[in-house]
Amino acid sequence: MTPLNLAAINFAWLPILPLLIVAVAAMVVLLAGLRVDEEESEGLGWLTLASLGIAFIFALGLVGRTGVAFAGAISVDGFSAFFQLVILITAAFVVLMSLDYAGENRLPGAEYYSLLLFATLGMMLMATAGDLIIIFLGLETMSLAVYVLVGMRRRDPRSNEAAMKYFLLGAFSTGFLLYGIALIYGATGTIKLGPIHAALASNMASNHLLMLGLAMLVVGFGFKIAAVPFHMWTPDVYEGAPTPITAFMAVGVKLGAFAGFVRVFLINFGPVSSHWAIALWVLAALTMTVGNLIAIVQTNIKRMLAYSAIAHAGYLLVGMTAAGPQAGSAVLYYLLAYAVTNLGAFAVVVALEHRASISDEISDYRGLSRRAPALAAAMTIFLLSLAGVPPLAGFMGKFYIFSAALSAGYVGLVVIAVLNSVTSAYYYFYVIVAMYMEEGAGLELARVAAKPALVAAIGLALFATIVVGVYPEPYMSAAASAYQSALNAGTIHTAALLP
């Protein structure tokens, strides 16, 4: 028996340290939950938040380092660091939203926070994947946890329906993804992203097996990011899930799925982008148009935000279609802008939902500007950002993506996207109309005040939405260097190095 080489082990564990912290925290929370009553889950929430913070610090420590571990299965670079940080922030926001929500809705705290952490782990794993199997593992870890989270409100039939629907369709789409991976393995003889990249560069493009595999992957990812026509589950699931989980799905799941999508398609299948670009072009146009058009007629805010999330996936797909380094960094920046804005919007929905006996109907938002001026103002900023009004984050994201797409020559697609933005203004502004321009029947209701944790979440999201928009340069640079670092890593995949 050869002696253990401790140095080598340390070497390999370091890159996945943030992942390990989250995984351990998930189990600790689960065990700690045995000693905590269901209604008193707030402590578990703080524990979760603390562990996310620790993981964040370690993830921050990995910024600027690149290398592969576990024989190429894990790829640590600026790209993975970028996504891990944004995903951890997202999870932290969701915890802040859940602190009161979980107790009030009598959600089983230990399971809830533990699954939240497992889902976060899955997302982070997708961002750090160096081969297709890890992407699949990450996707499954994330999805299985989220299936359960969606159904957490056990006594609510809508929650049950949502979980069932999400699970069935999700499992189906996972099949597609896995089959796609198998076909790609068959075509290239490897599941490692780097060698696939190399294989593609050397004239594999005409391989039908490979193309079929790619198409299957598009379906698998398309389901997770809710691209039309794989979006059917979205509104029902978003509506039925506990609202913080809806936020988690609209932002976190999308981040994880796009992390995988971007890494596989833009970075590693970049050489054959001409083969998949047309498919994504169609997907993007469909996703934007259908999402926006159906969002117009929604009367429930969660459903409206669900269709809005579909539409935003469409804008992101415009960036994917454009391909190339500029488009890649535009997609990353857009995801950041979208994350902070959407988290803020959902935090407002949560705040109203459980404090003010407001349901999720947009008509209940009537006259909100009098009952809760600050919440209404914050919601207005978030909606304006989603609609793409300058100088907020959402606008800068759109600007970045449109520039990249025009620069790649997709004038028609940008015109479609622009017209879609006008459509979207209608339904976002309609919520503002309800809050400011219509009188609520419930004026006698007390003024709405949110709990400190939620106020903090909304305040931070508001601050981020404004800062990321008004002073975008550092975030754009971060996105650009993250993407560039993954590109470089893709080409030097064989060297395993971490300083």
Binding site: V389, S403, V411, S421, M437, E473
Partner: protein, 528 residues
């Protein structure tokens, strides 16, 4: 760099808006909002005084990097085209706030003042930006407060009007955004770097097709804002349902942003296409003039009448502009100022009447001359200014525009003159129906005449009308160098197109050319 004077002008209102939101008492909110609006007003008078008459360049320029990755900078500057519009904006905002505090707005005054001041920041930023991206940002920002002003404090179908306003304007402006990005990418092609600097973009070489499409995108955005017939349908709704101050700013300043956009962007960026498009724009302008006047004539609602008269007056602005000669363009800018002052004044007067009677139906009035003589006298002055009576401001602008247009296209000018006649007709007729004759409704006998505050609002308006009517020189002197500079590339384009036509005719005469002129290849539009 000049000490950030322009930055102060643009952002003091925003700071004021935030300050106003923190006030607890309504009166304190009104007072602080008014005082905050006086700061940019004073600064813009200072700007007017210090403005170098003989320079056509951007003055008081400030430039800092904003998003270096895209070559976007925070770049402000003022020239003869924007200077007077800045002054108009600061004057009208102050007057509107002064007026609105007198009882016109009773609901949520703090928010009202906040949105008015944010609107001022948006308007001034739009006028002073010489970075195209920055311009676009301000252009969109000014939309939001106006949306709230109409939607919260408006009348009748206010929500419908507000949403319609937003959707119309956004459609145009987002397409313009795509065009801006495309233009900048062409600039990168030509000069090897990304830059949103307007002065650089003026030099971008474009193919004929590219220039046409880009001009179309810019022109659409601006034509919606002006609005030019047939894109005007949002205007009557927005103007009618908006609160008085909203209508004043909407008509007085915001519509000018469209015309300003043509002068600053659409025409100088694509001079050749602009020259080619002259017949189209003259035709649309003339249709707007006559259509607006005819529709105004049959309106039963006073405010709607003023709104349609705006369509007609803005037609004059566009007519003079697309005469593309110094008189026409100078007259066009002058007419923008006139329209701001006169129509602003008319909206204020209609608002004062509405506050007393809660109706704007012309048939509800009659014989007001007897019960409210001061009001009637002031109305007379403002109405005559709008109708273009010599000695008052409206005449100077219309005269210059018609002069300029006659040189370019006498048929368009001849039709436009009929608009002047129609304008006088509907305004005088309205005046007659409202002010003269017997008092038909008992309520009108006891109607209260203007308060001191209202007279204080109207005195500066009338003073401006007289001053601009009798002594236009100081204003025109400041415009001329910049107008000449803006028209220089247009003249080059004209000469070039003329030369091409001569060449083609000559070739045809010699029988050497094919029957159909060959498609001209990559026509460069670079000026100078």
């Amino acid at each position: 760099m000049s000490g950030g004077l322009l930055t102060a002008i643009v952002f003091v209102p925003l700071l004021g808006g935030l300050f106003v939101l923190m006030q607890r008492e309504d009166r304190a909110a009104w007072n602080s909002a008014f005082i905050f609006s006086l700061i940019p007003l004073a600064l813009s008078f200072y700007l007017f005084a210090k403005f170098d008459l003989h320079s056509a360049d951007f003055q008081f320029a400030e430039q800092y990097d904003w998003i270096p990755r895209f070559g976007i900078s925070y770049h402000l500057g003022v020239d003869g085209i924007s200077l007077l519009l800045v002054l108009l904006t600061t004057i009208l905002i102050s007057l509107s706030l002064l007026y609105s505090g007198g009882g016109d707005i009773e609901e949520r005054p703090r928010e009202f003042c906040f949105f008015m001041l944010v609107l001022e920041t948006g308007l001034l930023g739009t006028l002073l930006s010489i970075d195209v991206f920055l311009f676009y940002v301000f252009w969109e920002i000014m939309l939001i407060p106006m949306y709230f002003l109409i939607g919260i404090w408006g009348h009748g179908r206010k929500v419908y009007a507000a949403i319609k306003f937003v959707l119309f304007t956004m459609t145009g402006s987002l397409l313009m955004l795509a065009a801006i990005i495309y233009l900048v990418l062409q600039a990168r092609h030509a000069f090897g770097r990304l830059s949103f600097d307007l002065q650089l973009l003026y030099q971008v070489p474009l193919s004929e097709t590219q220039a046409r499409w880009l001009f179309a995108a810019f022109a659409l955005a601006f034509a919606i804002k002006v609005p030019m017939w047939p894109l005007h349908t949002w205007l009557p709704d927005a103007h009618t349902e908006a609160p008085t101050a909203g209508s004043v700013i909407l008509a007085g300043v915001m519509l000018k942003m469209g015309a300003y956009g043509f002068l600053r962007f659409a025409i100088p960026l694509f001079p050749t296409v602009a020259v080619e498009a002259v017949p189209l724009f003259l035709a649309l302008a003339v249709i707007g003039i006559i259509y607006g006047a005819l529709v105004a004539m049959v309106q039963p609602d006073l405010k709607r009448l003023v709104a349609y008269s705006s369509v007609s007056h803005l037609g004059f602005v566009m007519l003079g502009m697309f005469a593309l000669d110094p008189q026409g363009v100078t007259g066009s800018i002058y007419q923008m100022l006139n329209h701001g002052v006169s129509t602003g004044g008319l909206f204020l007067l209609v608002g004062m009447l509405y506050m007393r009677r809660h109706t704007r139906e012309i048939s509800e009035f009659g014989g007001l001359w007897k019960s409210v003589p001061v009001y009637a006298a002031i109305f007379m002055v403002v109405m005559l200014s709008s109708a273009g009576l010599p000695g008052l401001n409206g005449f100077v602008g219309e005269f210059l525009i018609l002069l300029g247009t006659f040189l370019r296209n006498w048929i368009a000018a001849a039709f436009a003159v009929s608009g002047v006649v129609l304008g006088a007709l509907y305004l005088l007729w309205t005046y007659e129906r409202v002010m003269f004759g017997p008092i038909t409704k008992a309520v009108n006998e006891t109607i209260r005449d203007l308060t001191g505050r209202e007279i204080a609002v109207m005195i500066p308006v009338m003073a401006l009308m007289l001053f601009m009517g009798l002594y236009p020189k100081p204003l025109i002197d400041r415009m001329e160098p910049s107008v000449e500079k803006m028209l220089a590339p247009v003249h080059i384009a004209e000469v070039r197109l003329e030369q091409k036509r001569i060449d083609r005719d000559r070739a045809l005469a010699q029988g050497t050319a094919p029957a159909r002129a060959p498609k001209p290849s990559a026509l460069t539009v670079a000026a100078q």
